[in-house]
């Protein structure tokens, strides 16, 4: 069991380290998020699995599994929030990025140029 713990611990630390190297070396914000959110969550999840395998008793292992579940639940949500905020404020993309499928989608942050539409119908037009 301690061999398994050591392996999970080392694998998690290596994945977290790779995530950080990608954070430092990759090209633009969106590409850096790819390294930070996926490899980082994988590394932390592996380390929590190592904690669960190390203690190997019900309360601690369940708590470690709950932590893994929570991590896998919140990492995509946080990544989505950051990515939408970055992309919709037109953060600079890498010069080799040539697919920009959402270029016409993010316009809700633009300043409003027109008043909210007024309905033609009067308020009290019931027969």
């Amino acid at each position: 069991m301690e061999i398994v713990t050591a392996f999970l611990l080392l694998a998690g630390a290596v994945f977290a380290f790779v995530a950080s190297v990608g954070m430092l070396r990759l090209q633009d914000t969106i590409i850096r998020m790819h390294a930070a959110t996926k490899a980082g969550a994988l590394g932390a999840g592996l380390i929590f699995l190592a904690v669960g395998a190390f203690y190997a008793e019900l309360s601690i292992t369940l708590r470690a599994l709950a932590a893994v579940f929570f991590l896998l639940l919140t990492a995509p949500v946080a990544a989505h929030l950051i990515g939408r905020a970055a992309y919709c404020s037109r953060v600079s993309l890498w010069h080799k990025t040539w697919i920009d499928e959402l270029a016409n989608v993010c316009q809700w942050h633009e300043p409003q140029t027109h008043e909210p539409e007024k309905t033609d119908r009067p308020e009290n037009d019931r027969p």
């Binding site: 959110t37 590394g43 904690v51 932590a67 946080a78 929030l81 905020a85 970055a86 890498w94």
Partner: protein, 108 residues
């Protein structure tokens, strides 16, 4: 406590060194930016790495309370990241430190 515990202690030390280097690299990205979104991503990664460090501490010191600390910290870090992302979304276009170039030329 046999030889395998020594193996586990050495592994935990190696993991802590790797995580410390990882936090250092993420902190460099936090410093150089260039956009506020990069800094938010770097802060999110740093908090995930700190949670990982707490997990390693739970094994290294055999103190199981560190697991609860890690869970609570992960919760608070997620809320902080979400709040910072909403804050970035409301900032004016290009962020606080707006650069003129639309593409980043510096590859690895």
């Amino acid at each position: 406590m046999g030889m395998e515990s020594v193996l586990l202690a050495r592994t935990a030390e190696v993991a802590l060194v790797l995580l410390s280097l990882a936090i250092l690299f993420a902190f460099i990205r936090l410093l150089i930016g260039p956009d506020a979104a990069d800094r938010i991503v770097a802060l999110d990664l740093i908090s995930v790495l700190i949670v990982s460090c707490l997990g390693v501490f739970a094994i290294y010191t055999e103190e199981r309370a560190f697991l609860d600390v890690a869970i609570a910290y992960a919760l608070i870090a997620f809320l902080g990241t979400a709040a910072l992302a909403r804050f970035r979304e409301r900032m004016p276009e290009g962020g606080a430190d707006e650069t003129e170039t639309k593409t980043e030329k510096d590859g690895p």
